[in-house]
Subunit: 291 residues, 2 copies
């Protein structure tokens, strides 16, 4: 990924009130998403399975902070995990060298929400969404969302991108083209010569010197996800699918596994530095194939 | 892995006749293994599926050489791949720096056999076997075999290790304890705090200055695998298994995927340097779960 280091801010630039607001926003977004997803579970009539419900599990991080995993195994969502974490501490010297604002003072605070949904139906696209705020001696927002259809659907792809473009444009007309390209670049499997899905947006090191505005943009990304993704699910979750389509889905999920374990920097970093394995690997598909 | 660099040999130490003998041995071993595995397929009576047969597919390497994949999808072997490759060329400067005998002259020749078997029955252990010969300005043998039971079976583990110990001891009484420990160290998933299976042996940079003897050891590892693994398969392939056991197998295979993509240096190196993706990922299980 390109290195877009934000401008250096004075130490202590992030007030406790601002951190609290960020943390509460992520928790609030998680609650809204879980509610919307449970409503989709309720909305699937005629299934022999009961509607799924999220289960929550808190975890603590050695070194400071922790998080809450919310997992649902349902009849629309085969497996969906929403993880909230707010952690603080000090980066290892090796790692700190690569983090903006951490080379002199390695202490950090970070809060974020991370979501991956693997769907029962191959007609419903899988999705990933993550937004985060990181504070060192400087601070920035990052995140994004990308859609992984199992069966390509032009209309879904257009709706997803249009919703993201609309909200990006409200903040800065430069955002959508930059963040869309960044997403395409990041979610690419070089050894397969394949993109993970149909993209979306990805951004990092966002610091325009207007903290309120950057926070507002990050909130809008979450809100847009909450609006558009349930629409796509609802549009397809009642369609019948064939065994061939299910097989195609399981193979596509294998690519998702390859991306997560070979390329996803969050996963690799988390696993190699002793993060919470269950929370990190919540993104793995419930079932995958390499026939 | 520990770095056991072999002594520097004069350039040209490996004659064309020796390379030819190594390559032919690997091909011969492949033929014997495929035959033995097809016999096991024939030996499962009462299945509604036909006995599996290997299919071969040759591939070429840009830069020199190539290989042949043999894959079988059967009624005993859910998916087994045996890959033979003999390649030559010049290492990239970055990579050459870490390879014994390649820092001054980056040209190399390498030949090997690599096998991974994922079994239909959770009662039959999965297995990996690989042996290879690498020639730079020096040369060495490497390889090993390790067993991954889905359901732990003390007798199988004892038989597998006893067979390996016996053949190691015939060559050097130091080999078995060293190569067993090396295997345990290598096939360990730190983020899970779990071993991949019950181990076996793993060796690398084997160069005792007696090329014939090192080659003979490598051949004996192949022969021992060919003798012991089909016995273990035959002992269990007719047992009934439960859905719970199958589920346990699919979850254990997820760990296999994690090892291959996160830690296996062959896989990572191959994928990152543009190797033959199909041959490299032949080791992936046909189906895996992260429920």
């Amino acid at each position: 990924m390109r290195d877009r280091a934000p401008p250096q801010l004075p130490p202590g630039a992030s007030s406790e009130a601002e951190k609290k607001a960020v943390k509460e926003w992520f928790e609030n977004l998680r609650d809204q998403i879980c509610e919307a997803f449970e409503e989709l579970e309720d909305g699937l009539e005629g299934s022999m399975l009961p509607p799924g419900r999220f289960e929550r599990k808190a975890w603590e991080r050695e070194g400071g902070g922790g998080g809450v995993m919310s997992i649902m195994r349902g009849r629309v969502f085969e497996k969906v995990g929403v993880n909230i974490s707010t952690v603080h501490g000090s980066f290892s010297p090796d790692f700190a060298a690569g983090v903006p604002g951490a080379d002199q003072d390695a202490s950090f605070w970070a809060s974020g929400i991370s979501l991956v949904a693997h769907m029962c139906s191959p007609r419903v696209p899988a999705v990933h969404m993550n937004t985060r705020h990181i504070v060192t001696t400087t601070r920035w927002f990052g995140g994004g969302t990308d859609l992984t259809p199992m069966i390509f659907n032009r209309k879904d792809a257009a709706l997803f991108h249009a919703a993201l473009k609309e909200i990006c444009d409200e903040h800065d007309e430069d955002y959508y083209p930059r963040f869309r390209d960044w997403c395409d670049e990041y979610f690419y499997l070089p050894h397969r010569g394949e993109s993970r899905g149909i993209g979306g947006i990805f951004y990092d090191y966002l610091n325009t010197s207007d903290w309120q505005s950057d926070f507002a943009f990050t909130q809008d990304v979450g809100r847009t996800f909450l609006e558009i993704y349930p629409q796509l699910v609802d549009a397809h979750m009642r369609e019948r699918w064939s065994e061939d389509e299910r097989e195609q889905q399981l193979i596509k999920r294998g690519r998702y596994v390859e991306f997560n374990l070979l390329h996803d920097r969050g996963t690799q970093f988390g696993l190699k530095t002793g993060g919470n394995v269950e929370a990190i690997l919540m993104s793995m598909p419930p079932e995958a194939k390499w026939p």
